[in-house]
Homo-oligomer: 207 residues x 3
Amino acid sequence: MVRFRLTPRDGAFFDLLAKTAVEVVRGTEILTRMLGSDRTQRLELAEQLRAAENAADETTHEFLRRLNQTFVTPFDRDDLYHLASSLDDCMDDIEEAGDLIVLYDIGTLPPGVDKQVSVLSRCAELTAEAMPRLASLDGLRDYWVEINGLENQADRAYRHLLADLFRDEPDPISVIKLKGVIDALESAADSFEHLANGIETIALKES
Amino acid sequence: MVRFRLTPRDGAFFDLLAKTAVEVVRGTEILTRMLGSDRTQRLELAEQLRAAENAADETTHEFLRRLNQTFVTPFDRDDLYHLASSLDDCMDDIEEAGDLIVLYDIGTLPPGVDKQVSVLSRCAELTAEAMPRLASLDGLRDYWVEINGLENQADRAYRHLLADLFRDEPDPISVIKLKGVIDALESAADSFEHLANGIETIALKES
Amino acid sequence: MVRFRLTPRDGAFFDLLAKTAVEVVRGTEILTRMLGSDRTQRLELAEQLRAAENAADETTHEFLRRLNQTFVTPFDRDDLYHLASSLDDCMDDIEEAGDLIVLYDIGTLPPGVDKQVSVLSRCAELTAEAMPRLASLDGLRDYWVEINGLENQADRAYRHLLADLFRDEPDPISVIKLKGVIDALESAADSFEHLANGIETIALKES
């Protein structure tokens, strides 16, 4: 196998992470549209969500192929691996949430879910803006600080949703279904924070 | 501590993974028998399942002991560590599923569960066949391709089971119990895929 | 950035892990008090639990900052990283359990929960005693052996609680709530075992 040295110009790793992040943004846009849609539209949107996730998987695989065939990498190999898999987790959680909404055939979602999803949309945008800046590691501090703040907002929204759900929803089956959806959304927020923490760690190490 | 160099003949790491995988196959066989058994037989089968898991744990610990005492390893130390722990996850998920069937004192399981378990059986066989081939890294491509295909089948079976469960099962307690079992089976399929992806990554890196 | 060599006297890493472990002990003490408290007292105790978790987070971040700025580390960088994050998982699981008790507005907890929490208290004490011994790696064997034994006790307590819950609790909503709490406690026991296994691995490697 040809092992080639990375030239400074080879930003391929960051380009691929950026491409993946664009699909994550697309995923949160689809999720947002899902909230206001009826069952028929949601089936169609779930298809689009699956397509976004497949596109993200492809760029992630291309990233890993490159990583495995590159001798000199811009950061530690493990750090790059963790970046890619953390970003992949964000996409998976978003897709699972949309998936469960359709699978459980949920009618209207509690209002608090809008807050969860709008926080995720902002996390996705910030992440997509941050990926290209990994090449220089400049100006990433605001990114991880803001993500941590958003994760706290997501956490509060989640806890209120959970308390309201158990207080107000008399039907246990509905409780199980809605808990499944808001758990998936909460886990997406955690994944964005996990990715941001990984980037903070890299930045500190490389600085 | 004596640190000894691996000689080409030292295939001990792969022998231990292969031995562990044989217990995983045994686990899926026991799980298959569980489906058609009554409560009394299941108690006995759950014991056998625990025995298989203990045997797998022992070979895994022997693997880790060797890994920690070996200076030159056939692949990256971390890769070997992840192989062993991914294989351990497969066994744990299988044991948990069987365990919950008994713990929840479940009567007959929905038909779709047979499909989940038959896919897991095939995953276990393929995995057991693949382990000895790690030494040469030859002919592993079919393995990881087929595992990925099986995981997709498992995923479809899981999603149908979940949708049917929430549509057809009126008793919430039964929903919680059955969801616990099919979630554990789905997570076993994910673990087999995770292991296969890890092996693909190693093969690409070492090739 | 100034990269400084660790002198033998620099036990800062272990001091920080020890400080974190002290907060984990505090967390289990608060959890224990929660069991016998009424709803109002629990709100106050949940605050204290959150404070303990924040204190643990700070020492963990200080640990990671140091790790990233230290050129020569006492153990493999990855091993130290995993130690800190495993210890962080223990704290998170404990805080989540206490959090759910308040969030779900649970009345009296089933007696078996006392057993779960008392095992966690012992795990926390043993862990706090073990951290300072990491510097010499002496006398840690008893620690990981006893933790493994405690995890088995926790597992049995958990399985009995689960079986009793599904047999005796007629209200599905209460089942979901209580299952959430005992699952979090079980996952805390797993985290203590995971940390102990990591330390065993390091001890074997460094010995």
